[in-house]
C-alpha cells in the first residue's frame, strides 16, 4: 500500500508486459510452446519474485546408475 508502492507496482507491471512480448516473440512458430502473459506475479519485479518465491537450491547428487547391458559371451 502507499503511493511509492503503487509506483513500484506500476513499474513492475510495465516491465512485465515488455518481458511477455519478448518471451513470446522468440519462438513464434514452435509447436505448443509456452505462452507468457499477465498473472498474479505481474506486479512484482523479477528480483522481488526471485527473493520471495525462488528459495531453494539444487543438491549435488550421484548420477543415476543405468544397468549396463550384459556382455554376450557367445555370438552365434
Amino acid at each position: 500500500s502507499g503511493p511509492r508502492s503503487r509506483e513500484r507496482q506500476t513499474a513492475a507491471f510495465r516491465e512485465s508486459l515488455k518481458r511477455h512480448h519478448y518471451l513470446n516473440s522468440l519462438f513464434p512458430g514452435e509447436n505448443y510452446t509456452a505462452v507468457y502473459g499477465v498473472n498474479q506475479f505481474s506486479y512484482l519485479l523479477p528480483e522481488e519474485f526471485k527473493a520471495i518465491y525462488l528459495r531453494s537450491k539444487p543438491s549435488k547428487y550421484p548420477r543415476y546408475p543405468v544397468e549396463a547391458p550384459k556382455p554376450t559371451s557367445s555370438v552365434p
Binding site: 509447436n31 509456452a34 507468457y36 528459495r55 543438491s59 547428487y61 548420477r63 543415476y64
Partner: protein, 214 residues
C-alpha cells in the same frame, strides 16, 4: 514405458497448494511426495502438514528457503511423523516447532533416494513409474510469467532455484513433456501445473531428482 502417465489419474496426488509469500517450495514438494507415497501404499490420500516441515526441519530455513535433500535427510534421520495439515495448518510464516507424542498418528518415511538424471530422462520416467511422484529443483525464473503450453526455452540448467513435484509425463504429441505440480495456487499455469519439455534437461529438471519410500 507408456506414452502417457500421470499419478493424478491414480488419485494419489493431493490438490495444488499455494505457498503465498513463504519461500517454502522445498517443503511443499517434499510433503507432496510423502502424501503420494502413502496413497500409493493404499492409505487414504491426505494433506499432510507443510508447516510442520517448515517449523521443524532444523537444517533448513523455513519460509526463507531450504532444500528437498535436507528435508528428506531430516525426515529420515529423526523419523518424525508428519501430522495432518488440519492439525498443524499452514500459516505463511516460520513458527516454533510443535512436538507430538509418539502415540500421535502420523506419517514417517522409510528412506529416500536422490540422483542426477541429466541425459537420462527416459530412465527418469521409469523412476517416476516405479517410485511415484519425483521431487525436482528447477530454474523457475521465467515461470513468473508462465500461462500455459510447454516450457522449452527461457530457463537453464545449473541455475535451479525452485522445488516442485513431477506427477507424470505425456509423450503423445510432437513435444513430449513432464507434468509438474507447482505450489503457487491453482490459478497459476495449467491449473497450478507446468508442462516442461522432456529431454534436454530443460530448466535443469533432471539434475536434482529425489523419491521417497514409506
Amino acid at each position: 514405458l507408456p506414452v502417457k502417465f500421470d499419478w493424478r489419474d491414480k488419485h494419489v496426488v493431493t490438490q495444488v497448494r499455494n505457498q503465498h509469500m513463504c519461500g517454502g517450495c522445498w517443503a511443499f514438494s517434499v510433503v507432496g511426495a510423502v502424501e503420494s507415497a502413502y496413497a500409493r501404499k493404499g492409505q487414504p490420500l491426505e494433506e499432510l502438514s507443510v508447516q510442520q516441515v517448515i517449523d521443524c526441519s532444523y537444517n533448513n530455513y523455513g519460509c526463507n528457503g531450504g532444500t528437498p535433500s535436507s528435508a528428506f535427510t531430516w525426515l529420515n534421520k529423526t523419523q518424525v511423523k508428519l501430522v495432518k495439515d488440519s492439525e498443524y495448518p499452514f500459516k505463511v510464516q516460520n513458527g516454533l516447532c510443535r512436538y507430538f507424542s509418539d502415540s500421535h498418528p502420523g506419517y514417517s518415511i522409510k528412506d529416500y533416494s536422490a540422483f542426477d538424471f541429466s541425459g537420462q530422462e527416459d530412465e527418469m520416467a521409469k523412476a517416476l513409474l516405479n517410485f511415484g511422484p519425483l521431487v525436482v529443483v528447477v530454474d523457475a525464473m521465467s515461470w513468473q510469467d508462465y500461462l500455459g503450453g510447454i516450457i522449452q526455452h527461457h530457463c537453464s540448467s545449473g541455475e535451479a532455484n525452485h522445488a516442485v513435484l513431477i506427477t507424470g509425463f505425456d509423450k503423445t504429441g510432437s513435444t513430449p513433456y513432464w507434468i509438474v505440480r507447482n505450489s503457487w495456487g491453482s490459478s497459476w499455469g495449467v491449473d497450478g501445473y507446468a508442462h516442461v519439455k522432456m529431454g534436454g534437461n530443460i530448466c535443469g529438471i533432471a539434475d536434482s531428482v529425489s523419491a521417497v519410500f514409506v
